[in-house]
Every structure is written in C-alpha cells, then in structure tokens.
Amino acid sequence: MPDTQWPQFIVFDQPKEGKPPFYAGAVHAPDPEMALLNARDVFARRDSHVYLWVVRESHIFAKTAEELLQGFSISSEETSENPETYYVFQKTAHKGTLVQVGEVEAANPESAMAAALASYSNPKAIVWWVFPAWAVHQTHPTENKSLFGPADDKPYRHSSFYPTVTLMREINLAKEKLNWEDE
C-alpha cells in the first residue's frame, strides 16, 4: 500500500451559541472520528468553542467570485434524487475567513451553488462554499466539558501569564536608582 498522510478534513469552528461556524483550517485523518479528535487537539487549545465540524475536503464545492465570472454548468441529466440540505459558507471581507450564511435545498453541488448565489446574493462575497449537511461530522454538546473545558486550565499558553513587562520595569528602576545614587 503506498504511504499516506490520510485524507484531508476541513475543520469548521463555532465559537459561541448564536455565532455562525467559520472555516478554521484542516486536519489529516483516516476517518471522521479521528478527524474530530484531531480537530480538537489542533484547533481547540485556546478560545471558546461550542461545536467543531469536520468535512472531507472532497465534499466541498468551492468557487471564488473570480471563478464565478467564468460560469459553471449544472448537469442537465434528470435526477431522481430528492433535494438535500447544503450548507452555504461565504467570505465577504478580504482579511476574513469563510463563515456560514445559511443553507439551501438542492440535488447536487452545482445546483446548490446556483441556489446559494440566488438566496445569499451579496456583492461583497469573495468566496463561496457549499457542501451537503450529511458530509458534516460534528461534536456533541454533551461532550463539550471534556473536549473544550481542559484548555481553560492551561493559562501558560497565553502571553499574559509571563510578567516580563513588570520584571524589566523593576530591573530598569533599580538601575536608575543606582545611577541616581552614584551622581
């Protein structure tokens, strides 16, 4: 078997109730359960979280505003599938990341993108992602204490834990005092 770094799973992070999930990054994992555990270790060492999602990279249909100018086609094949829920993510600020704006019903990714463009039209949208709801594996709130709680007890991960400013100030004051006494 050829060596593998395992497939990529894109990670989304919902920091608080009421705030939408955002695109945080990715992890490599053999399967969704391992991807969720890896996502927690990689992305939840700091800050608050209520949900982490992982989605196989291959399930995400992505277009930038520039690409959309080229257009894309939707299959004209008759499909007997029922429409499914697709989540819609958008990036609207150049310095930002993609954030969920809502969801649409569609039978395939291209139709989902078309529906998203119509329903969540925004001249500021720079990047669009759609992916089916079934592709999302997520953490359960009942697990949050063990998933996200432990990070709160590790204050040494923050700059504020180290009193370097105070220490330098004391040393400089002591030096000034010595200089002053010398004069």
Binding site: H28, M34, L37, D41, V42, P150, K154
Partner: protein
C-alpha cells in the same frame, strides 16, 4: 480518626501523582517523533494533562503533610531518590513502538476513568474536587486511545501482531495497578478511596471485551511484582535525566 487517615491518604496520593508524572515523561518522549503530525500534537496534549494531574495530586499531598503546595511538588519530583518514588512499573517501561505506547496509555486511561468515577464521590472533599476537575480530561484520553486500539488491532496483520506483542508484554504489569497500598483498607472503609478489588473488576469488565473485539488474545501469564516499593531499573534511568538540570543548582529558581 480522620487524622490517622491523612498520612495514609498522603501515601496513596504519591502513588497517583508518581504514576502520572512518569507516564507523562514517557508520553513527552514522543514529541517530534510520532507516526504522523497530528499525533505529535495529540501526545503532547496527553502529556500536558497527565503532568497537570500529577501536580494536583502532589499539591494535595503537600497540604496533608503540612508543606507548601506551591514549592513542595518540585521538591518531591526533583529531590527524591528512586527508592522514594511510588509509581507502578508499567509507567516507567520504555516507549517501545507505537503499539506499545498506545496500548499502555489505553490500559491506564481505563483505570483512570474507573477510578475517577469513584473518586468524585469520595467522602474526603478535597480529593473529590480534584477528581471532578481531572475527570473530563480522562474521558477525552480514553476516547482517543480506544479509537487507536480498535484501529490498530483490526487494521493490518502487522498492526495486529504488534498490538498482540504489546499486550503480551504489558499484561503482567497491570496487576500492580490494583494492588492495595499498606493501610489502604482504612481509607476504603472511610469512603475516601475506592476498593481496589472493585476497581479491578470494573477495569477488567471494560478492557477484556474491548481487547477481544480488537482481535487481541488475552495473555495467560502471571502478574509480576505487586510491591510498589521496589523501583524499576527504568525508573532509575528516567529520574537521572529528569532531575539532572534541577540538581545542578538546588538553590536556583528556574
């Protein structure tokens, strides 16, 4: 009554703390050497948690013996001799291959989950409080290591063989984890700690079926030495490394 029990509990706490410290030491040896980048990060998390637990148990021990909980843990860790440590042999065993390290961690994680489930109800409140704090982290550890044990047991012929070798090597050391400390019966009677036999039964009830589902065969070998007062060869090596820098200058604040 409870004044007589405090020294016994202090001893018991050293076994818990020393186990966490030495296990954390072995976990931290994987940083930068794990099979895949995500596991460098995961094992560092395990090590950070275990070390944090060790510190909490050492601090409670300090309070029980009338020492300063801010400074005494470092004294215990860096200035005791090997014969004064109370960890189990299993935590000091060298890391071996990934299968060995993962399986050892899994066996210990089940123990911690079973133990903490009882300790959160301890009649000795400070112990129950620490157990409540630690428990969510151990729940996560067990989720992580169970996922690994299952996958390695059932993955390929090679991973199964390595897991079986690891189990054969580790199993005889597990009995010691449930061997009562001298005087522990008093602590059990007072409802301060759980009965080791109860813990052992609960641990086996979880571990045995899980390992069998992972296509591993339970070894029949006898349990090795049960007495924690005999330091292992491995512990001597670990401590000479662990204590090296601190002992360069015992007066220094690092």
């Amino acid at each position: 009554m409870s004044l007589d029990l405090q020294p016994l509990l202090a001893c018991k706490l050293l076994t818990l703390a020393d186990d966490e410290l030495i296990l954390g030491h072995r976990q931290s040896e994987w940083c930068g050497h794990a099979p895949i980048l995500e596991e460098d990060i995961a094992f560092a998390n395990l090590a950070l948690d275990e070390l944090g637990h060790a510190i909490l148990w050492y601090q409670l021990h300090a309070r029980l013996v009338g020492e300063n909980p801010d400074t005494y843990p470092d004294q215990l860790v860096y200035f005791r001799e090997p014969f004064e440590f109370r960890c189990a042999q299993i935590v000091a065993l060298p890391n071996g291959d990934w299968a060995f390290s993962i399986l050892r961690q899994y066996l210990f994680d089940v123990l911690e989950n079973v133990l903490l489930a009882h300790y959160v109800q301890s009649a000795y409140r400070p112990l129950a409080d620490i157990a409540a704090k630690i428990r969510p982290e151990e729940i996560y550890h067990l989720r992580h290591t169970s996922a690994w044990v299952k996958r390695l047991g059932l993955g390929t012929e090679e991973s199964n063989r390595r897991m079986q070798n690891a189990l054969d090597d580790l199993w005889p050391y597990t009995g010691q984890l449930f061997h009562p400390n001298p005087g522990e019966a008093g602590l059990v009677e007072a409802g301060w700690v759980a009965d080791p036999h109860t813990l052992y039964t609960a641990w086996q009830a979880q571990v045995i079926p899980f390992l069998e589902e992972a296509n591993l065969t339970l070894p029949t070998a006898k349990m090795r030495t049960l007495n924690r007062e005999l330091p292992s060869q491995h512990l001597v090596g670990i401590l000479s490394e662990l204590q090296q820098v601190a002992r360069l200058d015992p007066q220094a604040q690092w």
